[in-house]
Each structure stands twice: as structure tokens, then as C-alpha cells.
Amino acid sequence: MTPRFPALLAQAGEPTTPPADTFWLPAPSATAAPHVDTAFYFIYWVSVFFFVLVVALMVYFVIRYRRRVEGEPAQGGAHHNTALEITWSAIPLVLVVVMFYMGFRGFMDIVNPPANALDIHVLGQKWTWIFTYPNGHADTELHVPVDTPVRLILTSNDVIHSLYVREFRIKRDAVPGRYNKIWFRATHPGRFWALCTEYCGQQHSTMLAPVVVHEPGGYEKWLAAAADPFQTRSFAEVGAMLHQKRCSGCHSDDGRPHVGPTFKDLFGKTVQFTDGTAAVADENYIRESIVNPAVKIVAGYPNVMPTFRGQLKDNELTAIIEYIKELSGAATSVPVPDPAPEPAP
């Protein structure tokens, strides 16, 4: 149909160097991407051909047969032609069957993982992604090894979200009450974004998670360090990190109001609740607010926070409390026994 199509088929093999963005598509960075792109460009060139054909004929007819004097009759012509009508139904029919098949093949590649895939559980919740690795470590970033099949098992604990990595051409809804699966094999190391593409409310547009594809060996090193941050950091430092990853979507640490109250100067303050009661913000209050947030709602804020029960470990809760103390000038944090501060890997 179009001369460029065979060339595109040929280039759809395994890329050897990191590819670049094209005008229409982001750089393909997973093994399934070239299949998607081949289907995309096949449909694209068929569409371009028919669009140009339709518009060119339309413009030609309008010029050629334009009415010069009002009342001029038509030159005339047949008003039906069965052979022609069957032909122009059959050609598109054949083309769309090819399109269907290409789409089907590409889709099957993306939804059927190989048996040895690395499983990572993905939980969507307003408005963060939580990735749980085989060793139980939960993180807000998706880290994967290069050239390894990774299977994502998605669910949600509030509304529907959808995980989308543009360069991998994968997207799957995270639906509460069921598990959806998708897999990919990243073709080269790099940093990408996982976006939420199912509308999920106020902060939908900030529900982005970094995706890091590691060089061989890098993933294991990262996972070991990420799984136990207390080895190298103080409570307050870990708390600051946790705030950045888990809390900053709704709680600022600089006094600025956000979806929820700020952490700045919170510790020791008397907090007013919507039911008219009040309490001093101490360790137990903060802990309760994290694991059971609906019990005491701070006046002036909506009751939207999900529980973090089971998602944050006890020492992580302590770390957040210590960070809030530090932000409130009430730090009593004791450095952990093994202080060997080192920059993050």
C-alpha cells in the first residue's frame, strides 16, 4: 500500500542502541514496544493514504464541478454502481482485518508473560503508587533490572487507577477488588515515569511514580539498600525520606496548607477536630492519625486520607514522628547505633 511500510517492518526488530523519540511516539524501551509501533505505523500510513485520497478527490471535484451560475444543472452521472460499491467496501475490509490481526498479535505479547517473570505487586491508592518487591519491601518507585521479564500484579484500595509507562507501551487498570496483570522486559537502563491514566480525583495529575531500569546487578543492590534504610540513616532522616515519598502529596513540611495539615510545627501543638474536641499532637496522636486517620479529623480538612496500616512498619512510623518533631523544633531523636552516613546509592 505504501512504500515506507516494508522499511518499518524491517526496523521493528530488537533495537541495539537506545532509540529516540519520533514525532508520533516516545522512544520504545521495552520488547513489546516495536510490535505496538509496527501496528501503529501500518494503520498510520493506511490512514494517511485514505485521508489524502478523500481530501484530494473532494477538492478536485469542488474545483472541477463548481457551480458557475446559480441554477446551473449538474452534468450528471450514475447514481449507483454495484461493482464500484462492492470494491470500495471490500478493500477497507481487507485492510481492517490486517489491522485487527496486528493489534491482536501485539496485545497477546503484552498480556502473556514468560514463566520466569519477576513479580512485583502494584497498589494504587489516592494518590501514590506502591510497589511491593519479592522480599516484602514496599516502595513508591518502580525499580527493575534491564532485560528481565517483569510481571506487575495490580490492584487498588480505593478507586480505579491505571498504570501507564509510555516508553514501554503498557497500560493496565488497577481495580479495587481484583488483580490485573501485565508484563514487560525493559531493553535498556534509564529513568521513566509511570503515570496514572484513570481519573482518580483531586491529585490525579500528580500521581506519577519514577521507573528506574538498572544495569545488570544494580537492581539487587538497590533493593537491599532500600529494604533497610535504618542501617545508614537516623530516624528523622528516614522520616524525611518517607515524607517525600508517602506524605508530601497531601502534607507539606514547610507550613504551606495542602490537602491535609502541614507537618511543620505540628508536634506539641493543640489540634482542633471537626467534632469540636481538641488534643495535643504527641507521638500517639500522630501514630493514630497515620494508621487510623478517620478517627480524628482536623477542622478545616476533608476526611480523605487512606489508612497506612500494614503499609508502614513500626520503625517507619517512629521515623515519621521523629521527622515531625524535628520540623517542630522538638527533636529528641537519638541517632541509631550504627551512624555511617553515606550518600544514597
Binding site: W24, L25, P26, V36, A39, F40, I43, S47, F50, F51, V54, V55, M58, F61, V62, R66, R67, E70, A74, Q75, G76, H79, H80, E85, W88, P92, L93, V96, M99, F100, G103, F104, R105, F107, M108, D158, V159, S162, Y164, R166, R169, I170, K171, R172, D173, V175, G177, R178, N180, W193, L195, T197, E198, Y199, C200, G201, Q202, H204, S205, T206
Partner: protein, 551 residues
Amino acid sequence: MTTLNPPPPAAVDYLNHRSGLRGWLLTLDHKRIGVMYLASILGAFLLGGIFGLLIRTELFKSTKVFIEADTYNQFFTLHGVIMTFLVIIPGIPGALGNFVLPIMLGAKDLAFPRLNLASYYLWVAGALLAVLAIVMGSLDTGWTLYAPYSTTTGMGGVVPVLLGAFLLGFSSIFTGLNFIVTIHKMRPPGMTWFRLPLFLWALYATSVIQILATPVLGITLLLLIAERSLGFGIFDPNLGGDPVLYQHFFWFYSHPAVYIMILPAMGIVSEIISALSRKHIFGYHFIAFSSIAIALFGFFVWGHHMFVSGQSTLLTTIFSLLTYGVSIPSAVKVFNWLATLRGGSISLRTPMLYALSFIFIFAIGGLTGLFLGAMATNMHLHDTYFVVAHFHYVMMGSTLVAMIGGIHYWWPKMFGRLYSELWSTIAWALVFIGFNVTFFPQFVMGSRGMPRRYWSYVNLEEYTWMHQLSTIGSYVMAVGFVITAIYLVHSIVAGRRAPANPWGAATLEWRCASPPPPHNFDEPPTVGDPYDFRDLRYDPARAGYVPAAGS
């Protein structure tokens, strides 16, 4: 064809035969109801359009321009709800169909004039509930109202909007029922099925969808209300429900609803293209049957909205295949219109400009649907701006452009006045250019991965220039619409009087005076081929077409 009586001098017409507000609000005349629909729907279009412009303004920068995320989410929801339920679905059948259908058919009115008036007031009630929803705390669910978001969001406008959409559904069912019965039972002698103008075939097919699909939407909305206010567990998994079930129910209506929108638009285009090229429509039977085929097959493709939802791969495969099947009749209609133009006497007056724009825009809207029908590319493009661009090319660029073309085509008949063709051509150019500048960049940003319904695009700044182009285009389009409103209103006050048949069309409505008398026809008209223009000749004295003398 036998000799036709020249139209009688229009001393009494439907506009002046009865004055006063009562004469309008309680009228049973399909023409007056059509005019009331037209005015109301254009009012809703203004409101929905303002929300659209506000959304585009906010997206001019990646960070906040002037509204917060919550406000933005409400605005795009209201834009979608108003445009879909109040403008595009009822637009062509309610306004133009009501006015034109009985006259085109050769009947004095619709079969059930009171039901017709009831359908209008249900529309009004639905519209008022939508406005009430804005007052009662608004809603931020998106027009699709996906559960469990819609059953758990804290905003107070959800239930009023659901009730409003429920009433609008009944309005739609009443109109569909009325049209079907009228076309079956009120054809004058000689008006056989294959002498029906294609606009009527299109309205017939549309009506079939309206009465078969809309009840499903009504039930779904009631279930949503029951879950939200009474805690019934239908869709929310915390109550034992299934959120994907909601999507099945919703799209079982809302995909056929796309054909409720586009089929009448295609009917208008068939009328305009044939009349303004003075040539018999090419492939009449195919176009007529394809409307019915699209209406029926349109019921079996809803699952293509759910390829990434977790629906089974087998279902996804079947829906993809059926989706491609339904694309063929639409494609062939485009070829038929082109073949109609060939050898015609093509006039570029305003209705034709809109009809030709329809072909241009619908070609893009239809072809980009092919990308979304393929399973693999769908996964990449789903819920990105590519989808937003695709359905705006179909719903706005095709349906609304055809509706505006239809308004320009039948305006002289409706009000007996001619508008300024200079200004209408200028406005057309602004709308056409503005539309493409607004929505074409959205294809590019969508295929590059920009998700829809994003208030900000921090960390995604590479899309900024496309968003800005899109915003500029939307303002250009808005200027075009404002000019359109001005010259149309001006024409009613000060336009030249329209002849009975300004375009030389052969369908029956052009046999009546402009504007038509209250009961359309004093005696049943003689009916011929609606696309045979040979017996019409141009009369410069009347600036219109008259039956050829002595034929």
C-alpha cells in the same frame, strides 16, 4: 412529475399565527417545539463551551494558571456532562429532527404532539437538575461517572446529575418513539420507504438506538444512586460489587449513543451534499441500509472502551474484531458522498462548506478510530489525549459541525429569513481552522503519551507547546461561534426574506412556504424521488428555485 401549485403567499405561518408566551410554551406544533429545543440546546452549548474554554485556559501552562485541581475537575466534568447529555445527544433529533421530520415526510405533525412537548419539558427538567448540581456542590467524576469514584466522592452534585441524566434519557426515548411511529404511520400516499430522504432514514435508525439503549442507562443510573445513597453493593467492591460491571452497563448505552450522535449528522450531510450539488445522492440504498446496520452493530462493540480494564482477553479480541466491522459502513458513506459530488453542480454556500468540512473532519475522526480499535495500539493510546482528540473529531467536529451546517441549511425555512453569507463564510473559516488547531495537536500529544484529565503536567513539560496551540485554537473557534450567533440573530430581525426553496432541494419541506404554514400542507403533497432535481429551475426574481414551468 405532475404540475405543482406554486406555494401560496405566506400570510399565515407557524411563527405568527398565534402570539403570546402561552402560544409557545404550550404549543403542540412540532415546528415551535423544534425552535424551543434549538434555542435551549444552543444555550446549553454556550454553557458547555464556556467550561471548555476555561479548561483550555487552565492548560496553557504546566502549573496552575487560574484554578485549583478540584475546580478543574469539576469544569471538565460539567463540560462533558452538558455537551454529551444536553447538547450532542438531543441536538439534531430534538431541534432539527423535530422541525424537519414531519414536513420532509409530508405530514402535518408528529404522531404524538403531546409526547413531543413532554419530551421537551423533560429536557428542561434534566437541564435544571444539571444546573442544580452545580449549585449543590458540583461534581468531579468525569461525565463517565465511573464507580467506585462516583459512589464515594464527597461532592454533592452527583445525585442531582444522575437524576437529570435519567430524565434526559426519557426525553430521548419519547422523541425516538415519536419518530418511529410517525415514519411508520404518517407517510402520505406515494411516500414509500425508498422515497424517504436519507435524513429520515438516519433519524429512524437513531430512534431505534434511543429506545433500545437508553433504558439500560436509566437503570444503571438508578443503581448508582441506590449505591451512593442507600449503600446497595452493586459496583463498589467494599460492598461486594464489581466496578467493571459498571463500565459494561455504562458503555452498553454510551457506545451506541455515539451513533445517536453521528447518524443524524450523516443524514444532514447526505441532504446538503446532494441538494447543493444538484445531483442525485450516490448509492441511496447503501446509505439507507448502512444507517440501520450501524445502529444494530453499534450495540456489539461497547467493550472496546475496556481493553485495559481487566476484561478477558477473549472478550477484548471479539470486541476489537466487531469494532472494525462497524467501521466499514461509515467508510463507505464517505465514498458515496464523494461520488455524489462528482459530476455535480457544486455550490459553495454555507451549508455546503459545513458538509465538506464534515467529510474532512470525519475522515480524520474515523481513521483515528482504527488506531483505537487495534488491541495493541489501544493499550498505548487508551485514556490519553489521542482519545480526547478522536472523540472531539467525531462528536464535535463531525456531529456539531453537521448540526451547524443543518441549522444553516434549514434556517431560511425555519425563520423565513436569509443570513449574511459573507459573515457566515468568515465564521465557518474560523470554526474550521480553530477546530483543527485545537484538536489536531491533541493527537500528537496523545500518541506521545499525555494522559487525559490532568489538571497540571509538571514533569511532563514536553507537551507544553501542543497544549498552548490547542488553547489558542479553542479561542479562534469561540470567535467563530460568537460571530455565528450574531449574524443568525441579526437575520431574524433584519434579514432578507427567504424564498420557499433557496437551495433547489427536492425534499418536501422546500415545497412549503418559508416559514411554513401552521399545518405544513393543506393537502397531502405529491411525492417523488427526493433527489431528482431536474424539475427545479432557478428564478432570479425570487432568488430561489421553482418547479420548472410546463414540465
